[in-house]
Amino acid sequence: MSEDFKPKIIYFMCSWCGTGGSETASAHHLYYPENVIPFRVNCTGAISPLHLLRAFVEGADGIVISGCHPGDCHYNDGNFRARRRVASIKSILDSLGLGADRVWFRYVAHGEGKRFADTAAEFNEHIKNLGPNPLKERKET
Protein backbone atom coordinates (compact mmCIF):
# COMPACT_ATOMS: atom_id res chain seq x y z
CA MET A 1 0.00 0.00 0.00
CA SER A 2 1.44 3.30 -1.05
CA GLU A 3 1.16 6.18 1.40
CA ASP A 4 -0.11 8.63 -1.21
CA PHE A 5 -3.07 6.49 -2.27
CA LYS A 6 -6.18 8.57 -1.67
CA PRO A 7 -9.19 6.35 -2.22
CA LYS A 8 -12.31 7.76 -3.79
CA ILE A 9 -15.16 6.90 -1.50
CA ILE A 10 -18.81 7.54 -2.24
CA TYR A 11 -20.89 7.92 0.89
CA PHE A 12 -24.58 7.36 0.07
CA MET A 13 -26.68 8.85 2.86
CA CYS A 14 -30.39 9.27 3.23
CA SER A 15 -31.72 12.78 3.57
CA TRP A 16 -33.23 12.15 7.01
CA CYS A 17 -30.78 10.31 9.25
CA GLY A 18 -27.57 9.90 7.24
CA THR A 19 -27.25 13.55 6.27
CA GLY A 20 -28.57 14.50 9.69
CA GLY A 21 -25.62 12.66 11.14
CA SER A 22 -23.26 14.69 8.98
CA GLU A 23 -24.95 17.91 10.15
CA THR A 24 -24.47 16.91 13.75
CA ALA A 25 -20.84 16.08 12.97
CA SER A 26 -20.34 19.57 11.56
CA ALA A 27 -22.04 21.13 14.57
CA HIS A 28 -19.56 19.34 16.78
CA HIS A 29 -16.63 20.26 14.53
CA LEU A 30 -15.84 16.64 13.76
CA TYR A 31 -13.68 16.05 10.72
CA TYR A 32 -13.80 13.26 8.22
CA PRO A 33 -11.40 12.52 5.34
CA GLU A 34 -11.83 14.89 2.40
CA ASN A 35 -11.77 12.08 -0.14
CA VAL A 36 -15.08 10.76 1.17
CA ILE A 37 -17.70 12.22 -1.15
CA PRO A 38 -21.17 12.56 0.37
CA PHE A 39 -24.02 11.63 -1.95
CA ARG A 40 -27.44 12.47 -0.66
CA VAL A 41 -30.45 10.35 -1.63
CA ASN A 42 -34.01 10.66 -0.42
CA CYS A 43 -33.99 7.28 1.24
CA THR A 44 -31.54 4.39 1.17
CA GLY A 45 -34.46 2.32 -0.07
CA ALA A 46 -34.43 4.49 -3.21
CA ILE A 47 -30.90 3.44 -4.17
CA SER A 48 -31.04 1.04 -7.09
CA PRO A 49 -28.34 -1.64 -7.12
CA LEU A 50 -27.40 -0.04 -10.45
CA HIS A 51 -26.38 3.22 -8.77
CA LEU A 52 -24.01 1.29 -6.59
CA LEU A 53 -22.65 -0.70 -9.51
CA ARG A 54 -22.14 2.36 -11.68
CA ALA A 55 -20.18 4.05 -8.93
CA PHE A 56 -18.26 0.85 -8.34
CA VAL A 57 -17.39 0.19 -11.98
CA GLU A 58 -16.73 3.79 -12.97
CA GLY A 59 -14.22 4.92 -10.42
CA ALA A 60 -15.13 4.52 -6.77
CA ASP A 61 -12.78 2.57 -4.56
CA GLY A 62 -15.45 1.97 -1.97
CA ILE A 63 -19.08 2.67 -1.18
CA VAL A 64 -20.73 3.30 2.18
CA ILE A 65 -24.49 3.44 2.63
CA SER A 66 -25.99 5.01 5.72
CA GLY A 67 -29.68 5.15 6.45
CA CYS A 68 -31.83 5.40 9.55
CA HIS A 69 -31.70 2.77 12.26
CA PRO A 70 -34.28 -0.03 11.97
CA GLY A 71 -37.68 1.35 12.88
CA ASP A 72 -36.63 4.98 12.32
CA CYS A 73 -37.08 5.18 8.54
CA HIS A 74 -39.05 8.24 7.47
CA TYR A 75 -40.80 6.01 4.93
CA ASN A 76 -41.25 3.15 7.42
CA ASP A 77 -39.39 0.42 5.58
CA GLY A 78 -36.84 1.96 3.21
CA ASN A 79 -33.85 0.89 5.27
CA PHE A 80 -35.05 -2.71 5.41
CA ARG A 81 -35.45 -2.75 1.65
CA ALA A 82 -32.01 -1.17 1.24
CA ARG A 83 -30.51 -3.90 3.41
CA ARG A 84 -31.93 -6.55 1.04
CA ARG A 85 -30.49 -4.73 -1.98
CA VAL A 86 -27.09 -4.41 -0.35
CA ALA A 87 -27.19 -8.11 0.51
CA SER A 88 -27.98 -8.87 -3.11
CA ILE A 89 -25.24 -6.64 -4.51
CA LYS A 90 -22.72 -8.04 -2.07
CA SER A 91 -23.68 -11.55 -3.13
CA ILE A 92 -23.21 -10.67 -6.82
CA LEU A 93 -19.84 -9.00 -6.22
CA ASP A 94 -18.76 -11.87 -3.99
CA SER A 95 -19.66 -14.63 -6.44
CA LEU A 96 -17.74 -12.82 -9.19
CA GLY A 97 -14.77 -12.10 -6.95
CA LEU A 98 -15.05 -8.32 -7.34
CA GLY A 99 -14.61 -7.47 -3.69
CA ALA A 100 -17.85 -7.43 -1.73
CA ASP A 101 -16.03 -5.86 1.23
CA ARG A 102 -15.74 -2.59 -0.68
CA VAL A 103 -19.41 -1.99 0.13
CA TRP A 104 -20.43 -1.10 3.66
CA PHE A 105 -23.86 -0.65 5.12
CA ARG A 106 -24.14 1.04 8.50
CA TYR A 107 -27.03 2.85 10.18
CA VAL A 108 -26.37 6.42 11.33
CA ALA A 109 -28.99 8.39 13.24
CA HIS A 110 -29.49 12.16 13.04
CA GLY A 111 -27.82 12.74 16.37
CA GLU A 112 -24.89 10.38 15.82
CA GLY A 113 -22.36 12.84 14.45
CA LYS A 114 -19.43 10.94 15.88
CA ARG A 115 -20.68 7.69 14.43
CA PHE A 116 -20.86 9.35 11.01
CA ALA A 117 -17.33 10.79 11.20
CA ASP A 118 -16.04 7.51 12.61
CA THR A 119 -17.61 5.49 9.81
CA ALA A 120 -16.10 7.74 7.14
CA ALA A 121 -12.65 7.57 8.74
CA GLU A 122 -12.79 3.87 9.47
CA PHE A 123 -13.96 3.01 5.96
CA ASN A 124 -11.27 5.23 4.47
CA GLU A 125 -8.66 3.32 6.43
CA HIS A 126 -10.23 0.01 5.39
CA ILE A 127 -10.11 0.91 1.68
CA LYS A 128 -6.57 2.25 2.01
CA ASN A 129 -5.59 -1.20 3.24
CA LEU A 130 -7.43 -2.90 0.40
CA GLY A 131 -5.79 -0.70 -2.24
CA PRO A 132 -7.39 0.83 -5.33
CA ASN A 133 -10.41 -0.80 -6.96
CA PRO A 134 -8.93 -2.67 -9.94
CA LEU A 135 -11.97 -1.95 -12.12
CA LYS A 136 -11.63 1.83 -12.08
CA GLU A 137 -8.41 1.89 -14.07
CA ARG A 138 -9.69 -0.50 -16.73
CA LYS A 139 -10.78 0.99 -20.02
CA GLU A 140 -13.05 -1.88 -21.03
CA THR A 141 -15.66 -1.61 -18.30
Binding site: L30, L50, L135
Partner: protein, 381 residues
Protein backbone atom coordinates in the same frame (compact mmCIF):
# COMPACT_ATOMS: atom_id res chain seq x y z
CA UNK B 1 -48.34 -37.37 -6.87
CA UNK B 2 -50.45 -39.67 -8.98
CA UNK B 3 -50.71 -40.26 -12.69
CA UNK B 4 -51.26 -42.60 -15.53
CA UNK B 5 -49.06 -44.03 -18.26
CA UNK B 6 -49.14 -43.40 -22.00
CA UNK B 7 -47.84 -45.79 -24.64
CA UNK B 8 -44.85 -44.70 -26.77
CA UNK B 9 -45.29 -46.40 -30.11
CA UNK B 10 -43.46 -44.34 -32.73
CA UNK B 11 -41.65 -41.74 -30.62
CA UNK B 12 -42.25 -39.40 -27.71
CA UNK B 13 -43.29 -36.55 -29.98
CA UNK B 14 -46.09 -38.64 -31.51
CA UNK B 15 -47.29 -39.77 -28.07
CA UNK B 16 -47.52 -36.17 -26.93
CA UNK B 17 -49.29 -35.11 -30.11
CA UNK B 18 -51.83 -37.92 -29.74
CA UNK B 19 -52.46 -36.91 -26.16
CA UNK B 20 -52.89 -33.23 -27.05
CA UNK B 21 -55.19 -34.12 -29.91
CA UNK B 22 -57.36 -36.22 -27.67
CA UNK B 23 -57.46 -33.46 -25.07
CA UNK B 24 -58.41 -30.84 -27.63
CA UNK B 25 -61.15 -33.04 -29.08
CA UNK B 26 -62.58 -34.12 -25.72
CA UNK B 27 -62.69 -30.56 -24.43
CA UNK B 28 -60.02 -30.91 -21.71
CA UNK B 29 -58.68 -27.61 -23.06
CA UNK B 30 -59.63 -25.25 -25.90
CA UNK B 31 -56.31 -24.42 -27.51
CA UNK B 32 -52.73 -25.63 -27.42
CA UNK B 33 -49.59 -23.51 -27.34
CA UNK B 34 -46.55 -25.48 -28.37
CA UNK B 35 -43.41 -25.31 -30.49
CA UNK B 36 -43.58 -26.27 -34.14
CA UNK B 37 -40.98 -26.59 -36.84
CA UNK B 38 -40.96 -23.56 -39.12
CA UNK B 39 -41.73 -24.26 -42.81
CA UNK B 40 -38.06 -23.97 -43.85
CA UNK B 41 -37.37 -26.80 -41.40
CA UNK B 42 -34.37 -25.33 -39.64
CA UNK B 43 -35.90 -23.72 -36.58
CA UNK B 44 -38.88 -23.75 -34.25
CA UNK B 45 -41.53 -21.26 -33.21
CA UNK B 46 -44.46 -21.30 -30.84
CA UNK B 47 -47.86 -21.93 -32.42
CA UNK B 48 -51.26 -21.35 -30.84
CA UNK B 49 -53.28 -24.21 -32.29
CA UNK B 50 -57.08 -24.45 -32.32
CA UNK B 51 -57.52 -27.02 -35.09
CA UNK B 52 -56.59 -30.53 -33.82
CA UNK B 53 -55.51 -31.73 -37.27
CA UNK B 54 -52.74 -29.13 -37.34
CA UNK B 55 -51.17 -30.71 -34.27
CA UNK B 56 -49.59 -33.36 -36.51
CA UNK B 57 -46.98 -30.83 -37.61
CA UNK B 58 -46.05 -29.79 -34.10
CA UNK B 59 -42.95 -30.76 -32.14
CA UNK B 60 -43.76 -30.65 -28.41
CA UNK B 61 -40.14 -31.41 -27.61
CA UNK B 62 -37.92 -29.51 -30.06
CA UNK B 63 -34.14 -30.06 -30.02
CA UNK B 64 -33.45 -26.35 -29.53
CA UNK B 65 -35.06 -23.42 -27.73
CA UNK B 66 -34.95 -20.41 -30.09
CA UNK B 67 -37.82 -18.62 -28.31
CA UNK B 68 -38.28 -19.00 -24.59
CA UNK B 69 -41.85 -20.17 -23.98
CA UNK B 70 -42.42 -17.65 -21.19
CA UNK B 71 -42.07 -14.89 -23.80
CA UNK B 72 -44.79 -16.54 -25.88
CA UNK B 73 -47.11 -16.76 -22.85
CA UNK B 74 -46.33 -13.16 -21.89
CA UNK B 75 -47.10 -11.81 -25.37
CA UNK B 76 -50.30 -13.87 -25.44
CA UNK B 77 -51.69 -12.48 -22.19
CA UNK B 78 -50.36 -8.94 -22.17
CA UNK B 79 -53.91 -7.53 -22.13
CA UNK B 80 -55.15 -9.84 -19.37
CA UNK B 81 -56.33 -13.37 -18.83
CA UNK B 82 -57.77 -15.66 -21.49
CA UNK B 83 -61.33 -16.88 -21.29
CA UNK B 84 -60.53 -20.16 -22.99
CA UNK B 85 -58.37 -22.86 -21.51
CA UNK B 86 -54.99 -22.93 -23.22
CA UNK B 87 -52.61 -25.82 -22.65
CA UNK B 88 -48.99 -24.76 -23.05
CA UNK B 89 -46.51 -27.58 -23.63
CA UNK B 90 -43.08 -26.39 -22.52
CA UNK B 91 -39.82 -27.26 -20.88
CA UNK B 92 -39.73 -26.84 -17.09
CA UNK B 93 -37.49 -23.75 -17.29
CA UNK B 94 -39.97 -22.05 -19.61
CA UNK B 95 -42.82 -22.70 -17.19
CA UNK B 96 -40.76 -21.42 -14.28
CA UNK B 97 -39.92 -18.24 -16.21
CA UNK B 98 -43.63 -17.78 -17.01
CA UNK B 99 -44.39 -18.06 -13.29
CA UNK B 100 -41.80 -15.37 -12.57
CA UNK B 101 -43.35 -13.13 -15.24
CA UNK B 102 -46.76 -13.57 -13.65
CA UNK B 103 -45.32 -12.28 -10.38
CA UNK B 104 -43.98 -9.29 -12.29
CA UNK B 105 -47.46 -8.71 -13.78
CA UNK B 106 -46.21 -9.40 -17.28
CA UNK B 107 -48.13 -12.60 -17.83
CA UNK B 108 -51.55 -13.70 -16.63
CA UNK B 109 -51.61 -17.41 -16.00
CA UNK B 110 -55.27 -17.89 -15.15
CA UNK B 111 -56.76 -20.46 -17.55
CA UNK B 112 -53.34 -21.32 -18.87
CA UNK B 113 -52.46 -24.92 -18.13
CA UNK B 114 -48.92 -26.15 -18.39
CA UNK B 115 -47.69 -29.49 -19.62
CA UNK B 116 -44.08 -30.00 -18.64
CA UNK B 117 -41.83 -32.92 -19.41
CA UNK B 118 -38.65 -34.54 -18.19
CA UNK B 119 -36.35 -32.26 -20.12
CA UNK B 120 -33.40 -33.87 -21.87
CA UNK B 121 -31.82 -30.43 -22.39
CA UNK B 122 -31.53 -28.44 -25.58
CA UNK B 123 -28.81 -28.31 -28.21
CA UNK B 124 -26.82 -25.09 -28.63
CA UNK B 125 -28.72 -23.01 -31.18
CA UNK B 126 -25.70 -22.03 -33.25
CA UNK B 127 -24.62 -25.69 -33.52
CA UNK B 128 -28.08 -26.70 -34.59
CA UNK B 129 -28.38 -24.09 -37.31
CA UNK B 130 -25.19 -25.33 -38.95
CA UNK B 131 -26.74 -28.66 -39.81
CA UNK B 132 -30.36 -29.09 -38.64
CA UNK B 133 -30.89 -32.55 -40.16
CA UNK B 134 -27.78 -34.02 -38.61
CA UNK B 135 -28.51 -32.39 -35.26
CA UNK B 136 -32.08 -33.72 -35.25
CA UNK B 137 -30.57 -37.20 -35.27
CA UNK B 138 -28.11 -36.27 -32.51
CA UNK B 139 -30.98 -35.03 -30.37
CA UNK B 140 -33.09 -38.13 -31.02
CA UNK B 141 -30.19 -40.36 -30.06
CA UNK B 142 -29.48 -38.35 -26.92
CA UNK B 143 -33.17 -38.60 -26.02
CA UNK B 144 -33.21 -42.36 -26.42
CA UNK B 145 -29.90 -43.00 -24.68
CA UNK B 146 -30.61 -40.35 -22.01
CA UNK B 147 -27.23 -38.72 -22.58
CA UNK B 148 -26.53 -35.03 -22.14
CA UNK B 149 -23.04 -34.54 -23.63
CA UNK B 150 -24.27 -32.81 -26.77
CA UNK B 151 -26.62 -30.47 -24.88
CA UNK B 152 -25.84 -26.90 -23.87
CA UNK B 153 -23.50 -26.61 -20.88
CA UNK B 154 -26.22 -25.08 -18.67
CA UNK B 155 -28.57 -27.92 -19.61
CA UNK B 156 -25.95 -30.49 -18.64
CA UNK B 157 -25.87 -29.16 -15.09
CA UNK B 158 -29.57 -28.25 -14.83
CA UNK B 159 -31.10 -29.28 -11.53
CA UNK B 160 -34.71 -28.49 -12.43
CA UNK B 161 -35.01 -30.85 -15.40
CA UNK B 162 -38.01 -32.62 -13.86
CA UNK B 163 -39.61 -29.83 -11.84
CA UNK B 164 -43.37 -30.14 -11.89
CA UNK B 165 -44.60 -26.59 -11.54
CA UNK B 166 -47.25 -27.04 -14.22
CA UNK B 167 -50.49 -28.98 -14.22
CA UNK B 168 -49.44 -32.09 -16.09
CA UNK B 169 -46.01 -33.64 -16.36
CA UNK B 170 -44.69 -36.21 -18.79
CA UNK B 171 -42.19 -38.39 -16.94
CA UNK B 172 -39.68 -40.44 -18.87
CA UNK B 173 -37.57 -41.55 -15.94
CA UNK B 174 -38.36 -44.83 -14.24
CA UNK B 175 -41.11 -45.76 -16.72
CA UNK B 176 -41.47 -49.18 -18.29
CA UNK B 177 -40.05 -49.63 -21.75
CA UNK B 178 -42.42 -48.29 -24.35
CA UNK B 179 -44.40 -46.15 -21.91
CA UNK B 180 -44.14 -42.75 -20.23
CA UNK B 181 -45.84 -41.39 -17.14
CA UNK B 182 -48.46 -38.68 -17.37
CA UNK B 183 -48.50 -37.13 -13.92
CA UNK B 184 -51.16 -34.76 -12.62
CA UNK B 185 -49.28 -32.17 -10.64
CA UNK B 186 -52.27 -29.95 -9.82
CA UNK B 187 -56.01 -30.15 -9.31
CA UNK B 188 -56.59 -28.80 -12.80
CA UNK B 189 -54.30 -31.44 -14.23
CA UNK B 190 -56.38 -34.09 -12.48
CA UNK B 191 -59.53 -32.62 -13.97
CA UNK B 192 -58.10 -32.81 -17.48
CA UNK B 193 -57.20 -36.45 -16.96
CA UNK B 194 -60.76 -37.09 -15.79
CA UNK B 195 -62.28 -35.25 -18.75
CA UNK B 196 -60.15 -37.35 -21.07
CA UNK B 197 -61.14 -40.56 -19.32
CA UNK B 198 -57.63 -41.42 -18.10
CA UNK B 199 -57.08 -43.51 -15.00
CA UNK B 200 -55.12 -40.79 -13.23
CA UNK B 201 -54.53 -42.45 -9.86
CA UNK B 202 -51.69 -44.83 -10.55
CA UNK B 203 -48.56 -44.66 -8.47
CA UNK B 204 -45.54 -42.83 -9.90
CA UNK B 205 -43.10 -43.86 -7.17
CA UNK B 206 -40.57 -45.29 -9.62
CA UNK B 207 -40.44 -41.90 -11.40
CA UNK B 208 -40.08 -40.01 -8.15
CA UNK B 209 -37.23 -42.16 -6.86
CA UNK B 210 -35.39 -42.04 -10.19
CA UNK B 211 -35.72 -38.23 -10.36
CA UNK B 212 -34.42 -37.93 -6.82
CA UNK B 213 -31.41 -40.04 -7.66
CA UNK B 214 -30.65 -38.11 -10.85
CA UNK B 215 -31.12 -34.78 -9.12
CA UNK B 216 -28.60 -35.59 -6.44
CA UNK B 217 -26.07 -36.48 -9.09
CA UNK B 218 -26.82 -33.29 -11.02
CA UNK B 219 -26.48 -31.13 -7.92
CA UNK B 220 -22.97 -32.45 -7.41
CA UNK B 221 -22.09 -31.86 -11.04
CA UNK B 222 -23.53 -28.37 -10.86
CA UNK B 223 -21.51 -27.47 -7.77
CA UNK B 224 -18.34 -28.71 -9.45
CA UNK B 225 -19.19 -26.82 -12.65
CA UNK B 226 -19.69 -23.57 -10.74
CA UNK B 227 -16.51 -24.12 -8.81
CA UNK B 228 -14.57 -24.50 -12.06
CA UNK B 229 -16.25 -21.46 -13.55
CA UNK B 230 -15.36 -19.40 -10.52
CA UNK B 231 -11.67 -20.11 -11.01
CA UNK B 232 -12.05 -19.38 -14.74
CA UNK B 233 -14.00 -16.12 -14.55
CA UNK B 234 -13.66 -14.90 -10.96
CA UNK B 235 -11.88 -11.65 -10.15
CA UNK B 236 -11.72 -8.37 -12.08
CA UNK B 237 -9.11 -9.43 -14.66
CA UNK B 238 -10.66 -12.76 -15.56
CA UNK B 239 -14.15 -11.30 -15.57
CA UNK B 240 -13.18 -8.54 -17.98
CA UNK B 241 -11.52 -11.17 -20.14
CA UNK B 242 -14.73 -13.21 -19.99
CA UNK B 243 -16.73 -10.29 -21.41
CA UNK B 244 -13.94 -9.06 -23.68
CA UNK B 245 -15.75 -10.00 -26.88
CA UNK B 246 -19.06 -8.40 -25.84
CA UNK B 247 -20.26 -6.08 -28.61
CA UNK B 248 -22.91 -4.47 -26.42
CA UNK B 249 -25.75 -5.62 -28.70
CA UNK B 250 -28.07 -6.35 -25.72
CA UNK B 251 -29.38 -9.48 -27.42
CA UNK B 252 -29.12 -11.39 -24.14
CA UNK B 253 -31.39 -8.84 -22.53
CA UNK B 254 -33.94 -8.99 -25.33
CA UNK B 255 -34.05 -12.77 -25.46
CA UNK B 256 -34.10 -13.22 -21.68
CA UNK B 257 -37.58 -14.20 -20.49
CA UNK B 258 -37.21 -12.63 -17.06
CA UNK B 259 -35.53 -9.37 -18.07
CA UNK B 260 -38.71 -7.61 -17.15
CA UNK B 261 -38.14 -3.85 -17.51
CA UNK B 262 -40.40 -2.36 -20.17
CA UNK B 263 -37.69 0.18 -20.94
CA UNK B 264 -34.21 -1.09 -20.31
CA UNK B 265 -32.09 1.35 -18.32
CA UNK B 266 -29.21 0.56 -20.64
CA UNK B 267 -31.24 1.64 -23.68
CA UNK B 268 -32.33 4.81 -21.93
CA UNK B 269 -31.05 8.35 -22.18
CA UNK B 270 -28.96 7.79 -19.07
CA UNK B 271 -26.23 6.68 -21.45
CA UNK B 272 -26.67 9.42 -24.06
CA UNK B 273 -23.87 11.64 -22.81
CA UNK B 274 -22.08 14.63 -24.27
CA UNK B 275 -18.66 13.93 -25.75
CA UNK B 276 -16.94 15.82 -22.94
CA UNK B 277 -18.16 13.21 -20.52
CA UNK B 278 -16.49 10.45 -22.51
CA UNK B 279 -13.31 12.51 -22.81
CA UNK B 280 -13.27 12.98 -19.07
CA UNK B 281 -13.56 9.26 -18.54
CA UNK B 282 -10.90 8.59 -21.17
CA UNK B 283 -8.58 11.00 -19.38
CA UNK B 284 -9.17 9.25 -16.09
CA UNK B 285 -8.57 5.76 -17.46
CA UNK B 286 -6.05 6.66 -20.13
CA UNK B 287 -8.36 5.41 -22.87
CA UNK B 288 -11.98 4.34 -23.14
CA UNK B 289 -13.43 1.43 -25.03
CA UNK B 290 -16.48 2.19 -27.16
CA UNK B 291 -19.34 1.39 -27.00
CA UNK B 292 -18.94 1.97 -23.28
CA UNK B 293 -20.38 0.25 -20.24
CA UNK B 294 -20.31 -3.36 -21.39
CA UNK B 295 -19.37 -4.72 -17.97
CA UNK B 296 -21.80 -2.35 -16.27
CA UNK B 297 -24.54 -3.65 -18.56
CA UNK B 298 -23.86 -7.26 -17.64
CA UNK B 299 -23.60 -6.53 -13.91
CA UNK B 300 -26.60 -4.21 -14.00
CA UNK B 301 -28.74 -6.75 -15.81
CA UNK B 302 -27.60 -9.30 -13.29
CA UNK B 303 -28.59 -7.09 -10.37
CA UNK B 304 -32.07 -6.72 -11.88
CA UNK B 305 -33.01 -10.26 -12.79
CA UNK B 306 -30.68 -12.57 -10.91
CA UNK B 307 -33.35 -13.54 -8.34
CA UNK B 308 -35.63 -14.71 -11.12
CA UNK B 309 -32.98 -16.29 -13.35
CA UNK B 310 -34.10 -19.82 -14.22
CA UNK B 311 -30.80 -20.77 -15.94
CA UNK B 312 -32.62 -21.49 -19.19
CA UNK B 313 -29.61 -20.57 -21.33
CA UNK B 314 -31.52 -18.35 -23.76
CA UNK B 315 -29.05 -15.50 -23.28
CA UNK B 316 -26.19 -17.74 -24.30
CA UNK B 317 -28.06 -18.90 -27.41
CA UNK B 318 -28.78 -15.29 -28.30
CA UNK B 319 -25.18 -14.13 -27.97
CA UNK B 320 -23.67 -13.55 -31.42
CA UNK B 321 -20.18 -13.70 -29.95
CA UNK B 322 -20.76 -17.04 -28.16
CA UNK B 323 -19.91 -15.67 -24.73
CA UNK B 324 -21.06 -18.26 -22.17
CA UNK B 325 -23.23 -15.70 -20.34
CA UNK B 326 -25.80 -18.19 -19.10
CA UNK B 327 -23.16 -20.16 -17.25
CA UNK B 328 -21.94 -17.11 -15.39
CA UNK B 329 -25.48 -15.98 -14.63
CA UNK B 330 -26.37 -19.41 -13.27
CA UNK B 331 -23.36 -19.23 -10.95
CA UNK B 332 -24.39 -15.84 -9.56
CA UNK B 333 -28.08 -16.77 -9.51
CA UNK B 334 -27.47 -19.91 -7.49
CA UNK B 335 -25.53 -18.06 -4.83
CA UNK B 336 -27.92 -15.09 -4.62
CA UNK B 337 -31.12 -17.14 -4.68
CA UNK B 338 -29.74 -19.35 -1.94
CA UNK B 339 -29.11 -16.24 0.15
CA UNK B 340 -32.75 -15.20 -0.17
CA UNK B 341 -33.97 -18.81 0.12
CA UNK B 342 -35.80 -18.19 -3.10
CA UNK B 343 -36.32 -20.50 -6.02
CA UNK B 344 -37.73 -18.88 -9.18
CA UNK B 345 -40.89 -20.49 -10.45
CA UNK B 346 -41.28 -22.78 -7.44
CA UNK B 347 -44.57 -21.28 -6.36
CA UNK B 348 -46.82 -18.61 -7.86
CA UNK B 349 -47.68 -17.27 -4.40
CA UNK B 350 -44.07 -16.86 -3.27
CA UNK B 351 -43.20 -13.13 -3.35
CA UNK B 352 -40.15 -11.81 -5.23
CA UNK B 353 -37.18 -11.15 -2.89
CA UNK B 354 -37.19 -7.38 -3.47
CA UNK B 355 -40.91 -7.00 -2.87
CA UNK B 356 -40.78 -8.09 0.76
CA UNK B 357 -38.51 -7.77 3.80
CA UNK B 358 -38.25 -8.94 7.37
CA UNK B 359 -37.13 -6.83 10.30
CA UNK B 360 -34.71 -9.46 11.55
CA UNK B 361 -32.59 -10.64 8.64
CA UNK B 362 -29.28 -10.04 6.86
CA UNK B 363 -27.58 -8.65 9.94
CA UNK B 364 -24.34 -9.87 8.39
CA UNK B 365 -24.37 -7.00 5.84
CA UNK B 366 -24.61 -4.38 8.60
CA UNK B 367 -21.01 -3.45 9.32
CA UNK B 368 -20.60 -3.37 13.11
CA UNK B 369 -19.60 -0.02 14.61
CA UNK B 370 -16.32 0.28 16.46
CA UNK B 371 -16.75 3.09 18.93
CA UNK B 372 -13.26 4.23 19.66
CA UNK B 373 -12.17 4.94 16.14
CA UNK B 374 -11.81 8.66 15.51
CA UNK B 375 -9.35 10.70 17.51
CA UNK B 376 -11.87 12.97 19.10
CA UNK B 377 -13.39 16.38 18.53
CA UNK B 378 -11.64 19.04 16.58
CA UNK B 379 -8.85 16.79 15.40
CA UNK B 380 -8.48 15.40 11.96
CA UNK B 381 -9.53 11.80 12.14
Amino acid sequence: MKGTTLPVEKDLNQTLIDFLKKGLESGGFDAVLLPSRVPSGDSFAYLLIKNPSLLEEATPLPPVMPVQGAKAVSSLTQYGKTNQKILAAMRPCEIRAATELSKLKQAELENILFLSLDCPGALPLSDYLENPREKDKVFQEALENRKTESMRPVCQVCREFSTTTGDLHVGRWGAEKGRVFLISSSEQGKKIQETMGNQGDQSVDSWESKVKELKEQRLQERAQFHEDLKTKAGGPDKLLEFFNQCINCHNCMRACPVCYCRQCYFDSEAFDLPVDDFLKRAKKKGSLRLPTDTLLFQLGRMSHMVHSCVSCGTCEDACPMDIPVAQLFSLVADQTQKLFQYSPGRNREEPLPFSVYKEEEFHEVETPYRKTYSKGEGKNA
